[in-house]
């Protein structure tokens, strides 16, 4: 029982992990992208459009192949979320519009896109494609605890963790990461050091958006098993919360997302009243607020948000 609970929590955590790693990268460049929930929705819509287009193109369920289906779906999901990120970047980095407002508009847009395509798409064959995404390592019918906890997931869960680890390494251990952090902390300094602030903002936000978009893909194609659901924006906001909770560290986000997911799923596995369920669901947000407040009171320099978060940069500002 407990094992199954933990297993499903780890699986579900991938939604949060994709979202929060994507948002962390974006925020490290100084962009407070409140459009992340929308971008995750766009990733999901991409997956829906990709899968249905593919199924139509191969002439029905019979023609589906594992590689073709997964690749097309992933590519569409990436393209859609890339488009979302691009809209945000053009508005905030090039046109220097207010980040909060642009992000909120993007979320509205993304939610609309998802319900539009989700509502109109032909979902024939989705369960089959979902089967490919959920394909785990070959484990028997009676897996032991190790196999259940570590080998029983579809590819996207592992990809999420790998991306989180890579993101952590890139941020901490490479020049690209160093430069990116400088852009988010103090764009004028980065600029004076010869770093192209705009390029870094675009790069981080677009890559971050694509990572977040995979979260949407994961939810539609793995978590729900090919059934279109419209709750992704809520998970997107939780991913934003997770970024604060993990004080902008993608490697911590791996555990953080599992914790969030445990709290989110816990009500389904313990016998509590409906009201108590909702109390448990509130905990992630409360904990995030507490973390936010504590980091601002303690004001340890390393656990602060990037100093230039939410601000546009214009070099010739006087």
């Amino acid at each position: 029982m407990f094992l199954t609970f933990l297993q499903s929590a780890i699986r579900f955590s991938a939604v949060f992990l994709f979202g929060s790693v994507g948002e962390t990268l974006t925020e490290k460049s100084g962009n407070l992208n409140l459009g992340i929930p929308g971008i995750m929705c766009m990733g999901a819509s991409g997956a829906i459009v990709g899968a249905s287009t593919y199924v139509a193109a191969v002439g029905g369920v019979g023609g589906i192949t594992a590689w073709g289906a997964t690749l097309v779906t992933i590519i569409f999901a990436l393209l859609f979320s890339l488009l979302g990120g691009l809209i945000y970047c053009v508005l905030t980095a090039t046109l220097r519009c207010n980040q909060n407002v642009s992000g909120l508009a993007l979320t509205t847009f993304g939610v609309g896109v998802l319900s539009f395509f989700g509502g109109s798409a032909d979902t024939t064959g989705f369960t089959v494609i979902s089967g490919f995404f959920r394909q785990s390592f070959p484990i028997g019918d009676n897996p032991n605890w190790f196999e259940t906890l570590f080998l029983s997931y579809g590819c996207l869960v592992y990809i999420a963790i790998i991306i989180a680890v890579i993101a952590a390494i890139v941020l901490k251990k490479t020049r690209v990461g160093l430069n990116l952090r400088a852009v988010g902390e103090n764009p004028a300094t980065a600029d004076a050091a010869g770093i192209s602030v705009t390029n870094y903002k675009y790069g981080a936000t677009l890559i971050g958006s694509m990572i977040a978009g995979l979260g949407g893909l994961f939810y539609i194609m793995d978590q729900t098993g090919g059934v279109v659901e419209y709750t992704i924006d809520t998970y997107g906001w939780m991913a934003v919360a997770l970024v604060i909770f993990t004080v902008w560290r993608p490697n911590w986000a791996i555990l953080g997302s599992i914790l969030f997911s445990i709290l989110y799923l816990l009500p389904n596995y313990v016998s509590v009243s409906f009201a108590e369920r909702e109390v448990i669901k509130m905990i992630p947000y409360l904990v995030t607020i507490v973390v936010l407040v504590i980091t601002s009171i303690v004001s340890r320099r390393e656990s602060q948000p990037p100093a230039a978060l939410g601000l546009s940069y214009f070099r010739e500002e006087r």
């Binding site: 642009s102 509205t108 607020i289 004001s299």
Partner: protein, 372 residues
């Protein structure tokens, strides 16, 4: 960027504009709205599978003005959206990025419903509504003022704080509903008590009147009160505020209280004048939409009234278009999304000027290259 030769002046440069004629600024904004609607029409033509381009426009207007009921809905929806926009405006004017209107309004709804649940039927409806109002305001103010205190005291990031408060509010509402509805359906049915009286036999009239009053009041507050003036000064420059002896922390907290009061009013209108109930999605993202609308209206109540109206117009019209073309309920969100992108983006052309490389330089360049 990288393929431009280093030895050339950049193709264009961005220069900050010091001032722009008001007419020109509005020209740019109106242009953006027009382009947005045109693009909306194109998108709908593509998504709708080649439906006539003109259907979009006729559908848009028919959806808004087609029947008296639709016209009333237009104003009712405008009123609710405007009310929330009015609530976020003071804080934003002060550069306090409160994106928690969703939660603050929801708490207002909860306040009213709590009163109905425990006092409904026991006191006169008029007094019930008064108590509902007080409860709504109290709930919303608490929700608004908590992030403000932390911001004033420790400079806690208010954007993220208020965002989280939204979800805490939603959970609170969910908890209350489960507490009230033992069946566990999670839906609170409509309540018989605490309903606003009909005016002229119509439901939403009182909402519209109250919001109009609030809009005028806020306009007067911004324009003629000391507080409104202090909000502007703090928003424009904290240094100036300190120079003239304004207590910035006090202004932040006081303004968020005001924000909370207006959110409470919006909550009351949603419960007493619209839904007669509360649900997790009672506010239906209008807390976020209102921020966009308020921002587009530059936080001036008359302009916000117009932008709210414009938003509702496009949203409601697009809904009708979607029905006509058989495109599902989500289509309006796409159209309003496009609308927002353009109207937000056009601000760039108001604040900055794009300077292209002078032509003369271009002609000189080859000569110089030969010479060197």
């Amino acid at each position: 960027m990288t393929n431009i030769k280093t030895d050339r002046e950049p193709l264009f440069r961005i220069v900050k504009r010091d001032n722009i004629a008001r007419g020109k600024a509005w020209g740019i904004r109106i242009g953006a709205v027009v382009i947005a609607i045109l693009i909306g029409a194109v998108v709908s033509a593509i998504l709708g599978g080649g439906s006539a381009f003109g259907t979009f426009f006729s559908g848009l207007f028919e959806g808004v003005f087609g029947t008296p009921r639709r016209i009333l809905n237009l104003f009712q929806n405008t009123a609710i959206l405007l009310c929330i926009a009015l609530a976020v405006a003071p804080a934003f004017k002060m550069r306090f990025w409160n994106i928690g209107a969703e939660g603050q309004v929801l708490m207002g709804c909860l306040g009213s419903v709590v009163v109905i649940q425990y006092l409904g039927g026991q006191i006169d409806n008029f007094w019930l509504i008064i108590v509902m109002f007080l409860a709504s305001v109290a709930f919303s103010v608490v929700w608004a003022v908590i992030p403000a205190i932390f911001k004033a005291k420790w400079r806690t990031n208010e954007t993220l704080f208020t965002l989280m408060m939204n979800y805490v509010a939603m959970q609170l509402v969910a908890i209350c509903i489960f507490a009230w509805v033992p069946s566990g359906s999670g839906v609170l049915g409509t309540l018989a008590d605490g309903r606003f009286p009909l005016i002229g036999g119509q439901r939403y009239i009182l909402n519209i009147i109250l919001v109009a009053v609030a809009a005028v009041a806020l306009f007067l507050y911004f324009r003629f009160s000391k507080h409104g003036y202090e909000i502007s000064v703090v928003g424009e420059s904290e240094n100036t505020a300190k120079y003239v002896g304004i207590n910035v922390k006090k202004v932040i907290i006081r303004t968020m209280v005001l924000s909370g009061v207006l959110c409470g009013l919006a909550g009351l209108l949603l419960v007493g004048g619209t839904n007669y109930s509360v649900a997790v999605d009672s506010v239906d993202n209008r807390g976020f939409t209102a921020i966009l609308v308020a921002w587009l209206g530059k936080f001036s109540p008359p302009a916000m009234a117009f932008t709210s109206w414009l938003y509702v117009f496009i949203d409601q019209g697009a809904k009708n278009v979607a029905t006509l073309m058989g495109m599902g309920e989500a289509f309006p969100d796409i159209i309003t999304g496009i609308f927002f992108f353009f109207v937000i983006g056009c601000e760039f052309f108001i604040n900055y000027k794009v300077k292209f490389r002078p032509r003369k330089k271009k002609a000189e360049n080859p000569v110089e290259e030969v010479a060197s």
